[in-house]
């Protein structure tokens, strides 16, 4: 599978007259995991919506392999670029296998029959997300973590080379958050899928990202490897938060420890600076 290049150039977009994104440039590294972080309302979800053509830009463009995604026929695009939105809806009573098979939608025409290829894609997706045993169960009956795996399986069945996810770990327990991120890493490593997602948790973002993007006020504040991006200076500028950064002994990746106003054992440089 060849890795696709997804780039945004001079992108402006928003709702109504106000532009939330203001001339943003971003190149999503092909075949890697990109994580976008930033404070609330910094435009990270808007960016994901424009990059998955749920929203049309007011200026600039998003290119997939050099071709504007807003000018590509939607079905054709949906075979290459997948998106898991923040709150998809599971129809009442639908079974896991049925829901996952809906991911085949862009591969089927009006009159084309369901093929063995479609069955394989669904079986692969269920196997990869380890939910084969849930295949006949109604989605309503599953736990939050299982349900999120079902949605990811559906996105996998779509067999796109690029997969965008809008906060795939929200509302999940920490063990399920890690599980989802591990799963996406498996997918990235075994299929070479380019993954780009918005995450809230900075430490999980730094742990799983190959390329970490920090956004602030509709622009990219800084982007690069987690070590370059997750620094005290950047956390202060992007989130307005004082922090300490240490290295995670298990992953060797940086972790951010926030400094608040209370329960500080020893006064640190940062708090002294502030007072």
């Amino acid at each position: 599978m060849t890795a696709r290049s997804l780039t945004a150039t001079r992108l402006s977009a928003g709702y109504g007259d106000t532009d939330i994104l203001q001339g943003l440039d971003l190149a999503v590294p092909p075949g890697r995991i990109t994580v976008i972080v930033g404070a609330n309302a910094c435009g990270k979800s808007t960016l994901l919506r424009v990059m998955s053509r749920l929203l049309s830009p007011n200026g600039g463009e998003v290119l997939l392999d050099g071709k504007s995604i807003h000018r590509t026929p939607s079905r054709e695009l949906a075979r290459t670029l997948g998106l898991l939105p923040q709150s998809p809806i599971a129809p009442e009573g639908i079974t896991v296998a049925d829901l996952v098979s809906r991911g085949r939608h862009p591969h089927q025409g009006l009159f084309s029959r369901w093929t063995q290829r479609d069955d394989e894609a669904v079986a692969n997706a269920l196997t990869a997300t380890r939910i084969v045993d849930l295949a006949e169960r109604p989605v309503d009956e599953l736990s939050g973590g299982q349900r999120q795996r079902v949605w990811i399986a559906m996105a996998l069945a779509q067999e796109t080379e690029v997969l965008l996810l809008d906060e795939p770990t929200t509302f999940l327990d920490i063990n399920h958050q890690v599980e989802v991120l591990d799963l996406l890493t498996d997918l990235n490593q075994s299929r070479g899928t380019t993954v780009a997602m918005v995450l809230h948790d900075l430490n999980l973002a730094a742990r799983y990202a190959d390329y970490l993007v920090a956004m602030s006020e509709g622009r990219i504040h800084v982007a690069g490897g987690p070590e370059e991006v997750l620094t005290q200076e950047n956390v202060r500028q992007v989130f307005g938060l004082e922090s300490r950064i240490i290295l995670d002994p298990t992953s060797g990746r940086p972790i951010m420890l926030p400094i608040g106003r209370h329960r500080m054992k020893t006064p640190t440089e940062a708090t002294e600076e502030r007072s």
């Binding site: 749920l54 695009l77 809806i89 692969n124 990869a128």
Partner: protein, 345 residues
């Protein structure tokens, strides 16, 4: 990542079971529609043997049969089936598109809009035939756009659209009552038709515009069945799967309104058939795949059976809308109570 052959087989079996079940449901419904259709031709105030009906239909002149079956029962049954199919199909399309069983055209004012226009055309403008249908379709589309526009505020929320629709519907119904009260020759049967729907006095000639609308608009809708199914996963998810959401919405709305209004122009707004068919069909197909065709058949079944029961199974005669209305109202109350409990998002 290796998928075992067992898993692959399991998935294929699973899919085959789903599509077989769907096929079984559709065949059973078809058979039921056929059976009740035949029953209504044979058994009314008197019994007509099937052989006689077949002879009559193939052109033999049997004066008594030509009257009871050819003039009375056949047009009634044909119109019941066509109207039922239209209401069922259009209702399910709206409910699927807006992901809410309350978003049915007969709840959100589209049926009353079409009905009001038909009454106005007939009573005030003294029009007849297909022109009335054109009036009804135009008004239905107008009401649909108005309800959509009035409930638009940063996008359309399902609950807001439904509440606006219920209000518009109440307004239109009082308009219908007003026009009927101004009608020169007060006719209870006619009034009942425009208020609750009826196939009394049906003529075979009325079936043609309905059939044309059903073929054109129904075909359009069925062509979009897969996209409609994707819309059930949410607008964003559907777009991610390659569905052109806005275009699909417009097309589905035009097709569904076209069907509803064409049927309403002939039979009146047969109460709650559009509203009930989708949920009943979804229940019996266990939500596997598009429920458009099963809903259409359930609609036909409801109208056929409701009309038959209203004529012959009750102490006095009622138009079909009274029966379907009595059936639908408790379900409506149940749904509204449920929306209230969830808080209505």
């Amino acid at each position: 990542m290796t998928t075992s052959p067992a898993t692959l087989r399991r998935i294929a079996d699973n899919r085959n079971r789903r599509s077989n079940r769907r096929l079984l449901v559709i065949t059973t419904l078809l058979a039921l529609v056929g059976a009740i259709f035949a029953l209504t031709l044979m058994l009314g105030q008197s019994f007509t043997p099937p052989a006689e009906i077949i002879r009559m239909l193939s052109g033999d002149s049997l004066p008594a049969t030509v009257f009871t079956v050819g003039q009375l029962r056949l047009p009634r049954a044909v119109l019941s089936v066509l109207a039922g199919l239209s209401f069922g199909l259009a209702g399910a399309a709206f409910q699927t598109m807006l992901r809410n069983p309350l978003a049915s055209p007969d709840i959100i004012g589209i049926s009353s809009g079409a009905s009001a226009a038909a009454v106005f055309a007939i009573v005030v403008l003294s029009l007849k035939g297909p022109v009335v249908s054109i009036f009804a379709v135009t008004a239905g589309l107008g009401v649909a756009m108005m309800v959509y526009g009035l409930s638009f505020k940063n996008g359309v929320a399902g609950t807001r659209l439904i509440l606006v629709g219920i209000g518009v519907s109440a307004m239109l119904e009082s308009f219908i009552a007003y026009i009927l009260s101004q009608a020169p020759a007060w006719n209870l049967q006619e009034a009942m038709r425009w208020l609750t729907g009826s196939v009394n006095g049906a003529q075979l000639g009325q079936a043609l515009p309905l059939l044309v609308a059903l073929i054109v608009f129904g075909g359009l809708l069925l062509g979009r069945a897969r996209d409609l199914e994707a819309l059930r996963l949410g607008d964003d998810m559907a777009a991610a799967l390659g569905v052109r959401v806005a275009a699909t919405r417009v097309l589905v709305m035009i097709a569904a309104v076209g069907m509803i209004a064409s049927a309403t122009a002939v039979t009146g707004p047969i109460a709650f058939v559009a509203f009930l068919s989708g949920p009943i069909a979804a229940r019996i197909t266990a939500n596997s795949g598009s429920s458009l065709i099963p809903s259409a058949l359930v609609g036909a079944l409801l109208v056929l059976a409701g009309d038959y029961a209203g004529q012959f199974l009750l102490p006095s005669r009622y138009p079909v809308g009274v029966l379907t209305g009595a059936l639908g109202a408790p379900y409506l109350i149940f749904l509204i109570m449920r929306v209230n409990r969830i808080g209505g998002s």
